[in-house]
Amino acid sequence: MSEFGATPANGSAALGLRHVLYPYSGAQQYLDGTVSYIDHVRNHGGTVVVAAPESRQHLLRSELPSDDSVTFVDTDGLGTNPARIIPAWREWIGHHAQNGRPVYGISESAWSGRTTAQLQELRYHEWLLNRAFAELPAWSLLCPYDTSDQMADTVSEVTRLHPWVWNEGDYAQGPDYVEGPYAMDRLPEPVGPYEELAYTIDDLPLVRDRVVEHARPSGMGAARLRDLLIAVTEVVGNSIRHGGGRGMLRIWVQDGAVVCETRDAGVITDPLVGCMRPTACQIGGRGLWFANQLCDLVQIRSGAPDGTRVRLHMDLPELEKPTDGSA
């Protein structure tokens, strides 16, 4: 297999991501699998980019010799929104591919302590990784996954997202991988009261006023409220430009977050919408990108004949977050 940034020996242009799940239980198994993967990379003259929680980075650092074959990246900026995973990896891989060595990645997402909505989107974006890199130079991404505190059904759902598994120091075909199309989870109705407002281009100030009226009494700080107002303005603007010129806004508070949902008649066909960093010369395509970068979670459901629903979640401070919510 050729790797990102390297020219294949046969001169062919190999493409796509080798997306590899490594299920493990406990620190020792974590080290066994990830260190064997890193050894594999070194044997192929490659370099590894590691994006993992600090505790895992600390474990790995203690086992690895200090050389330039492994780079640890700061994942703090990713926050909780899984839509930031793909652009982050595009940036990390693109940067490290510049030295001409094959590039490999290790990515461990936090699967515990998330709401149902966050888990739904995390699963989708893990699956979307396979699509996002399909036309780019080949590279390999190992996804360690701690199964020790997960239900069997949850583990099964994650294995379906990965075409490969890391097994005893080598790649193996993922037996449970489902190529697609991806079956998006249905968005549940709000739990509790919500406000609904029909809008056109003339109602943008009113839309923002309504968001402020819900967010401010809930304790949202000024900076995050400004971010939410931008995101809402973007998705409402999309309704006006692409969704028939009008839409319906719903606002409510649930699971420690302010949730703003827009509905319109437009249909989004690009599964990677909002996941690609725009270029300076690009016309449009920044609205959902902004939303993903500013909000803690963005859920998009789109298709004929129902149109498009975009649900923006902005977490509130100092509130207990449930781990089994249904937002």
């Binding site: 281009i201 900076a223 920044r286």
Partner: protein, 101 residues
């Protein structure tokens, strides 16, 4: 957008899809004037409440069409505006635009 004197224009309120076109026209006129004087186009964003992606695009389009060799200095740009500028990809655009707090 109002004339704040000394070649400076103050932008206030909201620049979103409803106002972006008018904002673009105003910036084009101001940029043409600045270019004719061979100087710097100064915009003050202190009183700007919000500018969205369409508003930033209108600003960039107007600058691209009317710079004529002068540069743009945006003063009073809050942290959010500076962040959105970078997120938009304009930070690497090569445009002679400077955003200052």
């Amino acid at each position: 957008m109002v004339d704040a004197g000394a070649g400076c224009w103050a932008v206030d309120g909201v620049v979103d899809i409803a106002g972006a076109a008018a904002f673009g026209i105003a910036v084009r006129a101001a940029a043409a004037s600045a270019a004719a004087n061979g100087g710097v186009l100064r915009l003050r964003f202190d009183a700007l409440d919000l500018i969205d992606a369409v508003g930033l695009a209108a600003l960039v389009d107007a600058i691209r069409q009317n710079l004529g060799g002068c540069s743009v200095r945006i003063e009073g740009a809050n942290e959010q505006v500076r962040r959105l500028w970078l997120l938009s990809g304009y930070g690497d655009s090569g445009l002679p635009v400077e955003l200052l707090p």
